[in-house]
């Protein structure tokens, strides 16, 4: 399980946003990878950083948005992939990966995984 449930209530409530980063070259989770979440603010169309996490040994982090914190809008997850590959002694094609997506229903649990290899990546809306 990705989150402890010490008091019997789930910490993964409604409207949370999670990710899972997998290293497809090794078939293992990508641990210690820096991930930032930002929301596009209007007016002015500026990105406002909301959270900064690092993936754990399972390639996951604590949810990016607390219950009730998600608003409909445009968000961006920034993954420091080159830094991750450098740490393993590899070069990679991309200095970072950014995934820009739309939240329409703030109550919906969103899972945005990222699969990475040095010369490719895949991202999708999971559940």
């Amino acid at each position: 399980p990705s989150l402890p449930q010490a008091d019997g209530t789930s910490e993964v409530g409604k409207g949370t946003l999670t990710t899972h980063v997998l290293n497809t070259a090794t078939g293992l989770p990508a641990a210690g990878l820096s991930v930032r979440l930002a929301r596009l603010q209007e007016p002015g169309l500026q990105w406002m950083e909301l959270a900064h996490r690092h993936t754990d040994a399972d390639g996951r982090c604590q949810p990016f948005l607390a219950q009730g914190q998600a608003k409909a809008g445009t968000y961006k997850l920034h993954f420091e992939t080159a830094e991750y590959w450098q740490g393993l002694g590899h070069t990679s094609f991309y200095p970072f990966v950014e995934v820009v997506f739309i939240i329409t229903d703030p109550a919906q649990k969103l899972h945005v995984p990222l699969l990475i290899s040095p010369y490719s990546y895949t991202t999708y809306r999971g559940s």
Binding site: F93, V99, F101, I102, Y119, S120, T122, Y124, R125
Partner: protein, 147 residues
């Protein structure tokens, strides 16, 4: 006898096609080749608006070119050898408009591919992007430095 004539006509047709067809692969004149695929329909993703940016020293993005993918999902002549110097680049594909034009509501605003190019001399780049309304995948095939 009939087969022989048909075969000659076929060869002539091939010769004509190879002159006229837009280039699918990177070459010396156009070292960056992009292919966009719709993996729901199993077809090229046509008329996808794509912007190519170059990273400036101050961290901003300078727009180099703006093109729509052709009937093969390609972007011939997106950049030239002269323009495609060493540096940081961003391809921004307006995938949301592509899916919305089909009446679908996609998850991603756009698909960005950020990469550094020509670090150790001139290379050829083939970048493929495979799309669905809720996912995208990109892969790069990069040659050794040429010339």
């Amino acid at each position: 006898m009939a087969f022989h004539s048909v075969f000659l006509v076929f060869l002539a047709g091939l010769a004509l096609c190879s002159e006229a067809a837009p280039l699918d692969h990177p070459d010396a004149k156009h070292p960056l080749s992009v292919k966009v695929v719709d993996s729901v329909r199993g077809s090229p993703a046509t008329n996808v608006a794509v912007k190519l940016y170059k990273g400036a020293a101050d961290g901003s993005w300078e727009l180099l070119n703006s093109q729509q993918t052709n009937e093969k999902g390609g972007l011939p002549e997106l950049t030239t050898k002269e323009q495609f110097v060493a540096g940081l680049y961003k391809l921004e594909l307006d995938t949301a408009s592509y899916w919305k034009s089909m009446g679908l509501n996609p998850f991603h605003q756009h698909a960005d591919v950020v990469f550094t190019a020509n670090d150790a001399g001139n290379r050829r780049y083939k970048i493929a992007v495979v799309l669905t309304p809720f996912s995208y995948s990109t892969t790069a095939v990069v040659s050794e430095p040429v010339e």
